[in-house]
Symmetry: C2
Subunit: 515 residues, 2 copies
């Protein structure tokens, strides 16, 4: 039996061109757009509303862990980086540099940096706040009584990027950065794992995005870190997205920033530090995890509006009754609780055709779309579209007519079911695309050919080689544009041998292409 031919809402399908499809989703959902400023985007209300949801729900988790929010300066003196560059090999140098503090007329009707207002020491727009926060901790931490010090910041950061892609890699992005200091290694490692688990739980519960939480290989560690952990999600094109990281930094960072404390015995010791962060990149992950050929699909937990009510207005006397009906319905839905919060509901009364609105909200990924017209007012019904079940088997739009009271009663369960369906579907797609392989030849055969062909990940045994042996692995992977994603914590210790070195394996790793 042939699948029915459906004319989808987007002009490009995921299968036809995933990269173009991604841009189309963002445009069609009014999430963001290019700003005219190189590598910086404008995040529009629907996209920013998603970020506000992510922020609120993540912030609650951060606060519940006893971490306190602060705000540190946007600018960091150049000398702070010089200090870091000495210590850190992988130090990235692509940053926005402020050199002047005034403009003057250029004599041709334009403006130019005033040569008399050159800064003595250039300022860097923060690419991360590691160093300023370290300097503050060095002042704030005197005694064991001040530990642990648990600090977080929500901020914009800038890393000059040559090739940018909205939400995934932009020169300016929004993020949170946690920075903590502890009296000993055990406490610092526990915090590193707490943050990692917070990210895993958040990704899976809130974003409905299945992830592997695991340790990155040595070559992928954050510069200066003793251990780097990540959550890795699989996008629908089979590529990996590193969606959050958590680092145990040992005492090396404390040493370079002079974070010392007096212990209970009166001696002096270096603090053990951690850092951890997630960013607006999570929104890119949501798009590529749940989006389909009709646009975005939002997990209800982060949908700015969970139920969108569209009154079918005809510019006639019946409109007032339809509007009233829509508002009464909205009031009933707003009084409900789903996923632990009041249901977010919008009545869209804009002067646009109802048909256009319906497809706008399909493309925006609103979980439930409700249409009400004069006939519904008369019969006490509503027409309900679930975004996660848009078409019937025959390819027609799947809109159900329900008595209003029945619908209202079902809303919480409906939202919770959409939330869990999205997770289940994404997990099934991902798990089907993870291929255990026992031999490098299989890995090479699987990934050869077009870089854009949709593939999954290889799951292989790993002996944790180091030094030259690790370099050789990295080079081998590079020829196929592959990287080791991480060694999932919940994979059992394998019994075979490493696909690269033949030595007895100590863990299992995931290999794939990535964003």
């Amino acid at each position: 039996m042939n699948a029915p031919k459906i004319k989808h809402a987007l002009p490009v399908s995921r299968a036809a061109n995933f990269a173009v499809w991604y841009q189309e989703v963002i445009a069609a959902a009014d999430m963001a757009e290019e700003s005219g400023v190189r590598g910086c985007m404008v995040i529009r209300p629907w996209g920013f509303g998603i970020w506000e949801r992510i922020q609120a729900l993540m912030d609650a988790r951060i606060k519940a862990a006893g971490v306190e929010n602060c705000y540190f300066p946007l600018f960091i003196p150049l000398s702070y980086f010089a200090k870091e560059a000495e210590h850190v090999d992988g130090f990235a140098k692509e940053m926005a540099v402020v050199t002047h503090h005034r403009l003057i007329g250029d004599g041709k009707g334009g403006l130019t940096p005033d040569p008399d207002a050159r800064l003595e020491e250039p300022l860097i727009v923060r690419p991360t706040s590691e160093t300023v926060i370290g300097a503050a901790m060095s002042r704030w931490i005197q005694s064991w009584r001040d530990l642990p010090m648990l600090t977080n910041q929500w901020a914009n950061v800038v890393r000059w990027e040559m090739r940018t892609r909205m939400f995934l890699r932009t020169s300016e992005f929004l993020w949170q950065e946690g920075h903590t200091a502890h009296a000993d290694e055990g406490d610092a490692r526990a915090e590193t794992m707490r943050a990692l688990e917070m990210y895993r739980e958040f990704a899976e519960t809130v974003l409905a995005m299945p992830v592997f939480a695991g340790e990155k290989p040595e070559n992928e560690r954050f510069p200066g870190a003793v251990a780097t952990y990540s959550i890795e999600a699989m996008m629908q094109d089979g590529k990996a997205l590193q969606a959050g990281t958590s680092h145990y930094l040992g005492t090396g960072f404390a040493e370079s920033m002079n974070i010392r404390y007096q212990d209970k015995e009166g001696g002096h010791a270096l603090a053990h530090t951690t850092s951890w962060g997630v960013s607006t990149r999570l929104i890119g992950g949501v798009i590529m995890t749940h989006g389909d050929d009709d646009g975005l699909q939002l997990p209800p937990a982060i949908a700015p509006q969970q139920v969108v009510i569209i009154p079918m207005l005809r510019d006639d006397d019946g409109d007032a009754a339809v509007l009233d009906y829509a508002k009464v319905l909205a009031g009933e839905v707003k009084a409900l609780t789903a996923l632990g919060e009041p249901v977010r509901v919008l009545v869209d009364t804009k002067a646009t055709k109802a048909q256009t609105k319906r497809w706008d909200y399909v493309k925006k990924g609103a979980p439930i779309i409700v249409e009400v017209g004069p006939r519904d007012v008369a019969s006490g019904n509503v027409a309900v579209i679930r975004r996660d079940a848009l078409y019937k088997d025959d390819g027609k739009l799947n809109s159900s007519i329900l008595p209003r009271t029945d619908f209202v009663g079902q809303v919480p369960a409906l939202l919770e079911s959409i939330q869990s369906n999205l997770f289940t579907e994404a997990a099934a797609r991902r798990d089907a695309a993870i291929v255990p392989m026992a031999d490098w030849k299989d890995v090479a055969a699987y990934f050869k050919g077009s870089e854009d062909a949709i593939k999954g990940w290889a799951q292989v045994n790993w002996a944790r080689p180091t030094g030259a042996a690790l370099d050789a692995v990295v080079e081998k992977l590079k020829t196929l544009k592959l990287t080791i994603r991480n060694a999932p914590l919940d994979y059992p210790t394998p019994s075979g041998s490493c696909v690269f070195t033949g030595s007895p394996a100590v863990e299992t790793i995931l290999i794939g292409r990535s964003y």
Copy 2:
């Protein structure tokens, strides 16, 4: 009868040196500190917690008005400003200019901007987002159906300042900027006044800070504005703090940014725009409105913690019972609602002396401080300190012993009473320091002498002179370091004549020194 001699918690009193006292409050309350980066501060958890409260409560009001949050780029191309500078006389040129996007080693172990990475066009760190938001509106607005467009952004902005003062004037600060576009003048003016009234209500209800909402004189208008309105608060040294502004920009800004729409008749028209903002400056206002010689006093609505419970621990077997008692009490208080929200309560279990903690929270301005020790556990009592009634008439600390259940029952009323007391006291202080004057000689006599002497405001009749007559007034005021604050909206039209021109007055204005 002599007032008892009290040894206050701060080393400097308001009366002795208001400016030094201000810095002492910030330091003693752990609100913020200098960052080592010129003009930028580090906002510490207690200070940032206050900002988070302000943000949450203001954002709710902004959203309730149908305004949508967006995010616009940190960087603005130089050419955008060149365009604005052409149109705007009062164009400020003190801005952070990004000229390079990479660092390289300077050959001497340091780093320097890479000459090969010079930007073709310098980027400005946003001093406001007026121009980028205008450019976006020009793209987004096509038809009358797109209007009104109600946009807001929470962001960091940078204005290079030569003399900085924490929270009041810093090179980087945090703010919200509302930018809206409307089909006609009436609608845009209504939005301007809505935002102004939102600020007035917020200042008085949430910050307990009495303000005058009124129009600024022509010479104090935002460059390019048709009308500028402000809320003006009086600090305890008698100086004015402009705490929020709302501008009606007419069609001039739309013209320079090309914000046009097709009207219902198919013609093309310019939009009418507004902008309005408040910033971290509000925190400076709270300090100088409510602070006393013992430190900060926080209105409960913005206190990060409203009730702080200090267990008196002695490092012995009795500690467990005291901690349990404190936690049970915290649970009971947390379950209460005050000022429309769950009560925020903290049990401070840090390893610091209880006596030190008590004074730390006095200095931080926590509204209610509760101490519990072994004797309280035995008797079922608590010792309660109200921050707004710290001392008894005899100068001793005013700590009341209450049965625990009585105290818990009183918490909501207590918090609400502290909130309203702070407003009432501030309003009484302010109103007593506003002096109606009928003659310029009286104004000059009142304000002559030391600029630092604590004075209030002059309330005078005003004929709204313009042109050279206005310039003369501005010059006259300048010699006494005075400015016109605003013409309060709720003052009746006066019947006398203008103190400056002698012409029939049309409104009443307030004159004072300001931050």
